[in-house]
Amino acid sequence: MNSALPTSAQWAALMPILFPALAAAVIPLALLDRDAGVQKWIRAGVYAVALFALGASFMFLAELGKQSSQPSYQQLRLDYLAQFTGIFIVVAAALAVLQSWDHFHQEGWVKGETISLLLFSVSGMMVFASTTNLLVLFLGLELFSIPLYALTATLRSRSSSSEGGLKYFITGAVAAACFLMGIVILYGLTGTLDISVMRLQAGTPLADPLFIVGIGLLLVGFLFKVSAVPFHQWTPDVYVASPHPIAGFMSVATKGVAIVALIRAFPGLTAWGPVLGPKVQGVFMLVAVLTLVVANLTALVQTSAKRMLAYSSISHAGYLVLGLVAGTPGALTGMLFYLAIYLAMNMGAFGLFTAFGLVGEKDTYEDLRGLGWKHPLMGLCAALILFSLAGVPPLGGFYGKYMIFKELVATGHVNLAILGVLASLVSMGYYLRFIVALFLQAPTQAQEREATEAPVIQASLARGTVLVGAILVVAGGFMQTVLVDGFAHRAIQGLLGLR
């Protein structure tokens, strides 16, 4: 059949995915050397190669965006939405790589495989976000999930880490199997694997309740990756068990690509016809309400700050799903903007743990006492990031929520918008607790003693990433038009075929 090599235009669609994949394949080869002296340099080289591959991918995507070209290769379509998502993933991964250099040195567990797995995951996410064919979608899903299972369990010296990995693996495998079952049912009923073609046929096989079962199973797979209630139980355990940078990457990138895939599969309410559309909207509404209520209330009672951040990431999934309920182009654009700000906020928030040099199980509010005064710049960044997560007005997080709530009101879902605002108010409670621990609580004597005895924390790279996150959060508040008009708007317009 089609065995010819891709043409240069087709290569353009493959390049951003190939850079990280190639780097990921090369890195393990470099790790074969056992000599300790050489290994130190190899490790530095591994991180450099990873950053280089991510940078190359970023430059390529930025260039594509500038030339406003949308190359495609077979089932992969690198349209504006995929380019936006690609840049989103690459930036998240680069921040995670920088943080993990510091974090793994603090833990004393620097392994190149970690970076290799992370890069495989990046290329899987790009595949996942740039296709409507369910076969390729499933390939992308597995390609980014399987490395993440291993990444969760990467600190083999700690049993909680392996336990988190096992939990993530079992729940993830079940979700993937449900997703696959959904695909096979839809394939059997429509005879096609392309979800955009399937949508056109949605009017005819509707009488079949199996069709609804298929869509439902598909949604289970997506919502699991988004970690929306009731498919959220894995999230806190897995984030707590994984290394801080990996937890940040998972919370940002996995959720981000799953939301983008949802936007692609369910763009607006009319896309699935007059019968199925409202049903899907009803599911989204239920999920969003449950997520906002359960996640925010559970986050309030956590004693571990990292667990709190995990529940906070679930609650942010709720706000994003609210955007799908509204389903207007404005709401979808708002969701993309929200995702971009969420990237800065969450990579920053999880990066704080590394920046403060908190390793191992030290992730409770108690461990954070007084750290804001000890590291004033990081304290300021922490305050900015946490206020933005809570949605305090001049910061980026506020505008993300504002864009979604505005469209909710415009489409007549005033109740949901009010619930969203109330949820943000509740969330203020647990974010403030983080800030109070940083600034208003003096460290205990034992902590003071420990701090004087401990070696100086080396975390300049992680601090840099937190600073970048804080700057992006502030920039998102004052210059959001650049991001919205420049990227998000174009991505959604291109997807919906409005232009």
Binding site: L135, E142, A173, Y187
Partner: protein, 100 residues
């Protein structure tokens, strides 16, 4: 060639066996097997539907899923082995450091 409906029923039975196994059994290795059972239930459907509709897409999918399943179980088993080395057990009830 049995009718697609018969295959559908068998595959749903397999799928439910897998789900039930994951919920009931406490041995991590059996849970792994049950997850594979769920994937294979979907595989069976793919082949039946592809035969029925005469398109090759489904059969290609089934082949790829076998590859995914192998990759998945490799990582899963590695995690179970890592855990076994630390805790000397594969019973999930004994593995309870995390709260959820």
């Amino acid at each position: 060639m049995p009718s697609p409906n018969a295959v559908l029923i068998i595959s749903f039975l397999l799928f439910s066996t897998g789900v039930a196994g994951i919920l009931i059994r406490r041995n991590a290795l059996v849970i792994l097997m049950c997850a594979e059972l769920m994937l294979n239930a979907a595989n069976l459907n793919f082949i039946a539907f592809a035969r029925h509709s005469g398109s090759v897409g489904g059969q290609a999918f089934a082949l790829m899923v076998m590859g995914f399943a192998a990759a998945e179980v490799a990582v899963g088993l590695a995690i179970v082995v890592a855990l076994y080395r630390r805790k000397a057990t594969v019973q999930v009830d004994d593995i309870n450091l995390l709260k959820g």
